[in-house]
Symmetry: C2
Subunit: 148 residues, 2 copies
DNA sequence: ATGCTTATCTTGCAAGATGCAATTATTAAC
DNA sequence: GTTAATAATTGCATCTTGCAAGATAAGCAT
């Protein structure tokens, strides 16, 4: 069991570096955390602040200010929910969507470069395994998460 | 290919949460970044500042200050290398090693809880897959890394 | 309705993290 | 020996973080 932690750790770090390197190489000036926020907003429909903060494991106050920055940068739109005006619902602006897509392309390009080293069987096995383990990790502790 | 990014992303996040939750539940007061630094120092023999900073993808100036904090907390030891006195070699103090081991136990316990949900075949497949993909990701871009 | 409790989000503040530019100390190159 | 390169640190300005304390809205009891 002892090298499982190491595997996750290294994998984690390498994926982070893959993203950072991607941004740098393509001259995109965005932080990892902002990229993640755009990604999550894009993935879910009408997420609230609290939902996304929980999902990303960020303190709500920090998240609130990150969103303010993204709104100022015209990447994210925030509007009060009709049914419950305490809640703010997030969505991407056109520019935000465009940025999210651009980031997606970059990361996928880099991921493809990784998978080129592997044959189809390995590829399928890996994706299957990632799905299983990700699901299992979500089931152990799922506070108030949106299904991811 | 498009949900591979998502898989990595979610897996990444869930592993981060697993670590944070572990620390919180066990009442360990340590940040993720400090935990990672201890882990890496423990894993490598006589790593230099620059090596670890590169490995973790942290700016060397930030890393230098993180190490100062850890040295003050009596978790890390820093000594000049004999052959090259510009270089500082890092190691764990007794307390640092103890902390690293404690963290390791916590994370492994939580990981075991995840793997309980899976059968032996799935477990083996997943570990095998993680190894392959981690290796592949390391080979695509390996700047000046120590072998991980 | 009125008050009490809970939920969502925002700000004040103080502490910590970040990264560029400049500096120190050491080694390498010529 | 002078100059260049490398490893690490410090100054400084900026950003991030999270607790505590608000502001506002919704739910719920009486």
């Amino acid at each position: 069991m002892e090298d499982v932690r190491n595997l996750f750790h290294v994998l984690n770090r390498r994926f982070s570096l893959l993203q950072k390197n991607g941004f740098r190489e393509e001259g995109i000036d965005i932080s990892l955390i902002h990229s993640h926020i755009l990604f999550e907003i894009d993935k879910h429909t009408q997420p609230s602040m609290q939902q996304l903060a929980d999902l990303l494991g960020i303190d709500i106050t920090t998240f609130s200010r990150q969103i303010q920055t993204l709104v100022k940068a015209n990447l994210v739109k925030k509007r009060a929910k009709q049914e419950d005006k305490r809640v703010y619902v997030l969505s991407l602006t056109q520019k935000g969507k465009q940025t999210a897509d651009q980031i997606d392309t970059i990361i996928n390009t880099h991921l493809e470069r990784v998978f080129l080293k592997l044959n189809d069987f390995e590829k399928d096995t890996i994706i299957h395994s990632l799905k299983i383990v990700t699901k299992a990790m979500g089931e152990v502790r799922n506070g108030n998460m949106i299904k991811g």
